[in-house]
């Protein structure tokens, strides 16, 4: 419902833009891309252009040049802007810096010196304790990684299949069925967890690996929705040509449609990894004890058990956040753009 509303503005802007503005409007669309825009734009452009690697290129540089040419710069306003931006950056990064510093401090130094002093000497003893002996943080990382990997593969494969059916095939009740998919987007997680819990208890799956994976691995309505919009933009002529050449539907799907949609699939992959690595409520509810603890639950338990032992706890939060921070460092441009592209829940 909300996504449909958002499609309006960029779509209209794109169409309203005169020829001289096409570049800029295109850039704006790449940043603010909405599912609806995607459906119309690619069809009008050659396929090679659509899958170009700079598909997600951020337009702010070009917009910047343009506006600086247009406006007379006000040095005072610029200086103030930088000051605010810097303070905000400091406030954003500060808590991370503090927690990383604490993670590399010895408990002795933490107890005797103010929180803001850098670790001296830098020690990895918190991490050694975390991974060895009592706390054994290796298992939560392994469990989380396996859960995320299975959900990622399942969700992508099954969502792509469903989206292709909705976008390119004709069958009875197609639109009704798609409407049902969309309607389920309205269901909040907090409503669903309790009946899911009851179902898992009844089927004896409580506190198992599959309880963590099954509810999420069969595709997500949201991914189906985004992919369908994208697939609809792929010209039918291309598919018909492949069919004439003797390709079956499975080959068309995996060798033509999927490669043409690398951008949106990468975006969905990132969304899936981030949201399931960070997932907390469902694993907290459905698992007990150490066996199937995921990283967020392990961190929460460690914190409540060793409340005062902050150097150890900060080592745990560092470990919980590090993989996604590294992922973010590698793909920051794609990630930042995919947030405004998809709404990223």
């Amino acid at each position: 419902m909300t996504s449909a509303d958002r499609t309006e503005v960029p779509g209209r802007t794109d169409q309203a833009a005169p020829a001289s503005e096409v570049d800029r409007a295109d850039g704006a669309a790449a940043l603010s891309e909405r599912p609806g825009t995607r459906a119309h734009n690619p069809a009008q452009r050659p396929a090679a252009d659509r899958v170009a690697p700079d598909q997600h290129a951020a337009p702010e540089e070009s917009t910047g040049v343009r506006s600086s040419r247009r406006k007379r710069r006000n040095p005072l306003a610029d200086a103030l802007t930088y000051a605010v931006l810097l303070v905000a950056a400091l406030l954003t990064l500060g808590p991370f810096a503090l927690s990383f510093m604490t993670a590399f401090k010895s408990p002795g130094q933490f107890a005797s010196e103010p929180a803001l002093t850098p670790p001296n000497p830098v020690t990895t003893e918190n991490f050694t304790r975390l991974f060895g002996g009592d706390y054994s943080f290796i298992s939560p990382i392994a469990v989380t990684a396996q859960v995320v990997a299975l959900i990622l593969v399942g969700q992508l494969a099954f969502s792509i299949m469903a989206a292709y059916a909705f976008a390119k095939l004709r069958f009875a009740y197609r639109d009704t069925l798609f409407w049902v998919y969309l309607a389920t987007l309205m269901i909040p997680q907090v409503v669903i967890v309790i009946p899911l819990y009851a179902m898992m208890v009844q089927s004896g799956m409580r506190n198992t690996f599959w309880a963590l994976v099954l509810p999420f691995m069969f595709g997500s309505p949201y991914a189906v929705f985004l992919l369908r919009e994208h697939f609809r933009g792929i010209p039918d002529d291309l598919i018909d040509a492949a069919r004439i050449d003797g390709a079956g539907d499975w080959r068309i799907l995996w060798q033509i449609v999927v490669p043409l949609s690398r951008g949106i699939i990468a975006t969905l992959a990132i969304i899936t990894v981030v949201s399931h690595w960070n997932n907390f409520m469902w694993p907290l509810i459905i698992t007990t004890g150490r066996d199937w603890q995921v990283i967020t639950v392990a961190t929460a338990n460690l914190q409540s058990q060793y409340n005062a032992n902050w150097t150890l706890v900060m080592a745990a939060t560092t470990v919980a956040m590090a993989p996604l921070l590294i992922l973010f460092g590698l793909f920051q441009r794609t990630i930042v753009n995919s947030i405004s592209l998809t709404g990223f829940k």
Binding site: R6, T13, E21, A165, L169, R170, F218, T296, A320
Partner: protein
């Protein structure tokens, strides 16, 4: 795009078998883990069940029970306070930062990336980090300020602290949508206003802000919906509903009701259903409110 359909056989069922194969897995997931649970919700809410003893049908008892329960009233109130503290500030700060970032200054792209960082991290992990920062004796904030304030255990401070952490982690995310919205406003609209002698202030309030209507709508709806369900960071910062129940928001209440202490699933489900209905109403009201004010046509 539609022309190629001519050469195909016109029957509605043309791809029926292939479609059912393609749809089977996701349809199964949808039915088993979304639609069926919703039906279970309705049935369980009419029963009293603690998972151990047999289920007992009690009709609407759970509903009367919950709706007249002061702890539920408190949770609703706390949730509203949380949303009212978080959303206006998060949206206003997001818009403000977006305006600064679209001034075309070099380095804006880098700042934009920095502000999103908290958003990528697990809210639970961030909650734990802030629990230390806000700790009374060895926490970083009190250390920095040279005081020993009980940020999280003082009933007057716990809710603002929890809201503050939430705003901190969400502003960068909100900013991205406003940057996109601002970038979508055509230059010629702004140029026309400048030719008519409007200054930057006037352009912002009378042209850019109204044109941001759809973005604002999206940010408000999704923001309210997610703030209404906030759980992870609140659980990490103030477990068990916080000091004197001051941060006992609805998601935390549902969790405590269903899985801690009572194992009272029926009551928890009624609470979940009530919040679901409220969320749908909020969405509809916001939609009506905005559809009267949004000007889509920019040409």
């Amino acid at each position: 795009m539609q022309t190629s359909h001519v050469q195909r056989s016109p029957g509605r069922m043309r791809h029926g078998r292939l479609a059912s194969v393609l749809l089977a897995p996701s349809l199964f997931g949808l039915a088993a883990f979304l639609v069926f649970p919703i039906l279970v919700v309705l049935w369980l809410s009419l029963n009293r069940w603690d998972l151990l003893t047999p289920m007992r049908f009690v009709g609407l008892d759970n509903y009367f029970d919950v709706l007249s329960d002061p702890t539920f009233g408190n949770s609703m109130l706390r949730t509203v306070i949380f949303v009212v503290l978080v959303i206006p500030l998060q949206v206003a700060l997001g818009l403000f930062m977006a305006v600064l970032l679209t001034r075309g200054l070099p380095g804006s792209g880098l700042f934009r990336v920095i502000y999103v960082i908290p958003w990528i991290c697990a809210p639970l992990a961030l909650g734990v980090v802030w629990k230390w920062i806000l700790a009374p004796y060895d926490g970083a904030l009190n250390n920095l300020l040279g005081v020993s304030v009980e940020w999280l255990s003082n009933p007057a401070l716990a809710m603002p602290a929890v809201a503050g952490v939430t705003i901190w982690s969400q502003v960068g995310y909100t900013t991205l949508f406003f940057i996109a919205g601002l970038a979508a406003i055509p230059d010629q609209v702004i140029e026309a206003a400048q030719l008519d002698g409007a200054d930057g202030w006037k352009i912002f309030w009378q042209i850019k802000l109204p044109l941001l209507g759809p973005t604002l709508f999206f940010v408000l709806v999704t923001g309210v919906i997610s703030a209404f369900q906030a759980f992870d960071q609140i659980y990490a910062l103030t477990p068990n509903g916080g000091p004197q129940g001051t941060t006992d928001v609805i998601a935390s209440r549902i969790y405590l009701e269903a899985f801690q202490g009572g194992f009272n699933l029926g009551r928890a489900l009624v609470m979940a259903l009530v919040s679901f209905v409220i969320l749908v109403i909020i969405t509809l009201v916001q939609q009506r409110f905005f559809s009267e004010r949004i000007t889509y046509d920019l040409s």
